[in-house]
């Protein structure tokens, strides 16, 4: 009996597709952590990072795409021991598989990180990072102290930037090791040395260029942090880093992400200051000239006024006014005098007139008296008439008022006489 070995043929593409599907759909392979060393590292111009991860007996290709590596906080280096997370993907075309890296951590970083956090907490409790302890950076440091390796990139960058900005600056370098086990002690010693008054340092820059997390470890050491904090001379921390800053940054009076940036922070641009001084001088000179020419113009205007140009002209016009007023006054007075004089001349006429009036009045009065005399009853009685009045002194004008026996009085021109009526006879 034959065994029915029915061979199951795949195309190459088919088998690769099957493997891909099997691998990429396997949850165990989709999200893995792999520990190893970095080799054949390539930072590609596209932004992707390619490397091989290996241990003593095996290796695996790894690709760290740009979208995933943009948050990488340090630069990968060949030989670096790392912990990689990602997923396995299959490249069907070549029948190969690779690790698609999502994140990388330096191996052992976790432990160090924990130690740093503990140290940070302890020193913070002592107040070493307090803002109130921060010293102000000098505006114009004439003597700049630098603590770093005399052969590293950092010292070159600091010197280059400082000289470019301030060509006659004095730089005093206190050499220190910036990596390795004894680095921290040398850094602290250099900072302490530059604090000695004999060096007359105005400002210290202490740091190093960028490196791996472990490279920067000396700047996380307690002895260095204390040296930063205890420095009487202001210190700028200048440790090259991208995101995670070393603890000494917190203890420094100022911190920069690179040594070059620290030099820029420390040293002013001399030519800017020279220009600024010149600018102020120009402004002052222009202002003074303006003020001067302002006053000068005002003075010229004043001098050119008529009063200064021809003072007599004003005097003349005033004099004319005065003369005018004077003549008007004189005329007025003359007029007044002549009018008064005329009145006086007319006085005798008035007197004569008055006298004549008086004579006339006297004559009128005489006439009046004459008339009055002619009207008086006495004048009539002189002519032989008499008046009979009764005992009530009433004039009797009719016989009807009389009866026999009435006592009457007869008034004559020169006296009166009593009589008794004897008879009464009416005749009309």
């Amino acid at each position: 009996m034959g065994i029915d070995l029915k061979p199951n043929f795949y195309t190459v593409s088919g088998i690769n597709a099957l493997i891909r599907s099997e691998v990429e759909n396997n949850p165990l392979l989709g999200n893995v952590w792999v520990k190893g060393e970095v080799y054949n590292l390539t930072y590609h111009s596209s932004g992707h990072i390619y490397f091989t991860l290996k241990d003593d007996s095996a290796s695996i290709s790894a690709v760290f795409f740009k979208y995933a590596n943009k948050n990488l906080k340090f630069r990968l280096e060949d030989g670096m021991k790392v912990l990689v997370s990602g997923g396995i993907t299959v490249f069907e075309k070549r029948g190969s598989y690779q690790l698609n890296v999502l994140s990388v951590r330096p191996e052992g970083e976790g432990e160090l990180q924990k130690r740093i956090e503990q140290l940070k907490k302890k020193l913070a409790a002592e107040g070493i990072f307090d803002q109130s302890k921060k010293k102000e950076l000098p505006f114009l440091p004439a003597r700049l102290g630098v603590v770093t390796s005399p052969t590293g990139a950092a010292v070159r960058d600091i010197i280059k930037v400082a000289l470019r900005r301030y060509p006659n600056i004095e730089i005093i370098i206190a050499p220190a090791k910036v990596q390795g086990d004894d680095a921290a002690e040398t850094i602290a010693a250099a900072i302490r040395e530059l604090n000695k008054p004999v060096w007359k340092i105005d400002l210290i820059i202490a740091g190093r260029g960028g490196g791996s997390f472990e490279d920067l470890m000396p700047f996380n050491e307690e002895v260095v942090i204390r040296a930063f904090a205890d420095s009487i001379v202001p210190v700028i921390s200048a440790v090259g880093h991208q995101i995670d800053h070393p603890l000494c940054d917190d203890a420094a009076d100022a911190a920069a992400p690179t040594p070059s940036a620290a030099a820029e922070l420390a040293v002013p641009v001399k030519s800017d200051l020279v220009d600024e001084i010149e600018y102020f001088k120009t402004r002052m000179t222009n202002s003074l000239l303006n003020t001067y020419s302002g006053y000068s113009t005002a003075l010229k205007n004043l001098v050119s006024k008529r009063i200064f140009r021809d003072p007599y002209e004003i005097l003349n016009s005033r004099q004319m006014m005065l003369a005018d007023i004077e003549s008007r006054m004189i005329n007025l007075m003359k007029h007044r005098v002549s009018s008064e004089k005329e009145k006086i001349l007319r006085l005798p006429d008035i007197y004569r007139l008055q006298k004549k009036l008086l004579v006339q009045k006297k004559h009128d009065l005489e006439l009046l008296v004459q008339n009055l005399n002619s009207l008086s009853p006495l004048n009539i009685m002189i002519r032989g008439y008499s008046i009979v009045i009764d005992k009530n002194k009433k004039i009797i004008k009719s016989v009807e008022k009389l009866k026999q026996g009435d006592n009457i009085e007869i008034r004559l021109a020169d006296g009166h006489a009593g009589a008794v009526i004897n008879s009464v006879k009416k005749e009309i």
Binding site: E170, I277, S287
Partner: protein, 98 residues
Amino acid sequence: MEKDKKLSQKNSFEQALKELEDAADRLESGDLGLDDSIKEFEKGIKLARYCQQKLEEAERKIEILQKGADGEIKPGRVAVKSDTGEIEDDGELQGSLI
């Protein structure tokens, strides 16, 4: 003590520069009469001269501290390439003071 003096000297440059600016502002304000303007101008020119002197006070030099055989730390002048900032002859330099 010496440090305090040094500090106040440094501050005095900044102070003088600020006063210089104030003098320019006051002169420009037009509030001053001619006599006061001249006084302010003279004061400003003195401040400007002082600031310029301060800027020239430092003497360009790069020194590196080195520990002698007797244990004493002394400064040694070094030449640098100003375009790169590189210290020339750095091979013989001590890497630290310890």
